[in-house]
C-alpha cells in the first residue's frame, strides 16, 4: 500500500475516529461537571442572565477600549490568521471536494490563485505569531509543549499544502500524501491540546457571561 493510499484511506479513518471520540469525551466530561452552587441572590431574572451570557460571547470577541493599545496587535494577528485559515480550508476547491465527499454537500469556492495569496499571507502571520511568542518574555514563560506543537502541526499542514499545490519538493503524490498525513496528525492531536478552544470558546464565554450577569456585573 503506498503512502497516499494509506493517508487518504485507513489513516484518515483512524484520525477521524480518534477526533470524534476525543472531542466528545472532553466536551461531555466538562459539560457534566457540576457548576458550584451560588448561594448569593441572583441580581437578574434567569432569562436576563442567560441573555447576558449570549451577549458576553459577542462582547468578549472585541477588546475593551482601554486595552486596545496593549493587546490590539496580538488580537489583529490572531483574527487575521484565523480568517485566512478558514478561507483556505473552506474556499479552496480541492478542500471543498474533500469536505463535500465527507459531508455530502458542496459550495462554491475561490479561484486557486486567490487562495494561494491568502495562504502565503496566513503563513507569514503564523511565523509572526511564533516570533512574538518566543521574543516576548511573558509569553515565553507561559508557553508549553501544547502551544508549540499545536502551532507546529497547523504550520505543517499549511506548508505541505502549499508545496503540493505548487508542486515543489518532490513528486506530487508524495507531497499530497504528506499533506493529508499531517491533516491526520492534526485531527488526532486536536482533542488533546489547545486546539479544543474551537469547541470551548463560545460555551466558556457564555457560561462566564451568564454567571457574571447573575451577579449583576456587565461583561
Amino acid at each position: 500500500m503506498d503512502l497516499l493510499h494509506f493517508a487518504r484511506g485507513i489513516g484518515l479513518k483512524v484520525a477521524l475516529s480518534i477526533f470524534f471520540l476525543g472531542v466528545t469525551w472532553r466536551i461531555v466530561s466538562f459539560a457534566l461537571l457540576r457548576i458550584r452552587r451560588e448561594y448569593s441572590k441572583p441580581r437578574e431574572s434567569v432569562s436576563k442572565y442567560l441573555i447576558g451570557g449570549l451577549i458576553a460571547v459577542g462582547s468578549r470577541s472585541w477588546p475593551h477600549r482601554e486595552f486596545i493599545a496593549r493587546t490590539g496587535a496580538g488580537e489583529a494577528l490572531g483574527y487575521s490568521y484565523h480568517l485566512g485559515l478558514f478561507a483556505v480550508v473552506l474556499l479552496f476547491t480541492p478542500h471543498i471536494l474533500f469536505l463535500g465527499s465527507l459531508l455530502g454537500v458542496s459550495w462554491p469556492g475561490l479561484p486557486s490563485s486567490a487562495i494561494t495569496i491568502v495562504s502565503v499571507i496566513t503563513l507569514t502571520l503564523f511565523l509572526a505569531v511564533l516570533f512574538r511568542r518566543v521574543t516576548n518574555r511573558v509569553m515565553r514563560l507561559l508557553s508549553n509543549f501544547d502551544d508549540y506543537f499545536s502551532w507546529f502541526i497547523t504550520m505543517l499542514v499549511m506548508v505541505t499544502g502549499l508545496a503540493a499545490t505548487a508542486h515543489i519538493g518532490g513528486p506530487y503524490e508524495t507531497l499530497l500524501a504528506v499533506h493529508i498525513l499531517s491533516v491526520d496528525i492534526l485531527l488526532i492531536w486536536f482533542p488533546f491540546g489547545k486546539l479544543m478552544h474551537a469547541f470551548y470558546i463560545f460555551p466558556s464565554r457564555a457560561i462566564n457571561g451568564a454567571l457574571l450577569s447573575r451577579k449583576g456585573a456587565t461583561s
Binding site: 479561484p111 490563485s113 486567490a114 495569496i117
Partner: protein, 151 residues
C-alpha cells in the same frame, strides 16, 4: 485587489535592444563551437531542438537569428522532410514530418551536407545492379555477354 489571472501578460518582442532570449543565446554559442570543429577537423554535430526547453517565441527568434541560405532540399520518404541551409554556411535546419505532415523530429545539423541526403554506397551498388538488369532485359532477349560483370 485584482487577481493574478487578471494581470495581462506581455511578451517582450524582438525589439529588445541588441539582446536575444537566453535559450537562443545558448544555442548560438553551441553552434559557434560546432562550426569551428567542422571547419578545423570536419567534425559533424547535431542539436535536437525537441530536447531544448524553447518557447514558440524563442523558436521564431532562433529562426530569424539563423536566417535563410541558398539551399533547400525536400526528402520524400514516408512523409516529406525539409532540410534548409541557414544563412550560416554549414548550419542546416532539418524538419522531419511523417506521411500525415506531423512533425516527428526537428534538428539543427552542423555539417557540409546533412548525412541523410548523401546516397549510401550500398544503395548505389544495388542501383547499379538494378539498372544493369533493366538494360539487359531491354535488349530484346539478345544474349548477355557481360557475365563477368554481373554478381
Amino acid at each position: 485587489m485584482s487577481r493574478l489571472s487578471e494581470i495581462a501578460v506581455r511578451v517582450e518582442g524582438p525589439t529588445r535592444v541588441g539582446g536575444l532570449g537566453g535559450g537562443v543565446q545558448a544555442v548560438l554559442s553551441e553552434l559557434v563551437g560546432m562550426l569551428e570543429a567542422l571547419a578545423s577537423h570536419g567534425q559533424c554535430a547535431t542539436i535536437d531542438l525537441r530536447s531544448l526547453p524553447m518557447s514558440p517565441h524563442d523558436r521564431i527568434e532562433l529562426q530569424s537569428a539563423l536566417g535563410d541560405g541558398e539551399v533547400q532540399a525536400n526528402l520524400t520518404a514516408d512523409g516529406v522532410s525539409t532540410l534548409r541551409e541557414t544563412a550560416l554556411c554549414g548550419v542546416w535546419w532539418v524538419e522531419h514530418r511523417d506521411h500525415e505532415g506531423k512533425l516527428i523530429a526537428e534538428l539543427i545539423e552542423v555539417s557540409t551536407i546533412p548525412a541523410i541526403l548523401a546516397a549510401s554506397l550500398i544503395d548505389v551498388a544495388a542501383s547499379a545492379r538494378t539498372l544493369r538488369e533493366r538494360l539487359s532485359v531491354g535488349r530484346n532477349g539478345s544474349e548477355r555477354t557481360d557475365h563477368a560483370t554481373r554478381n
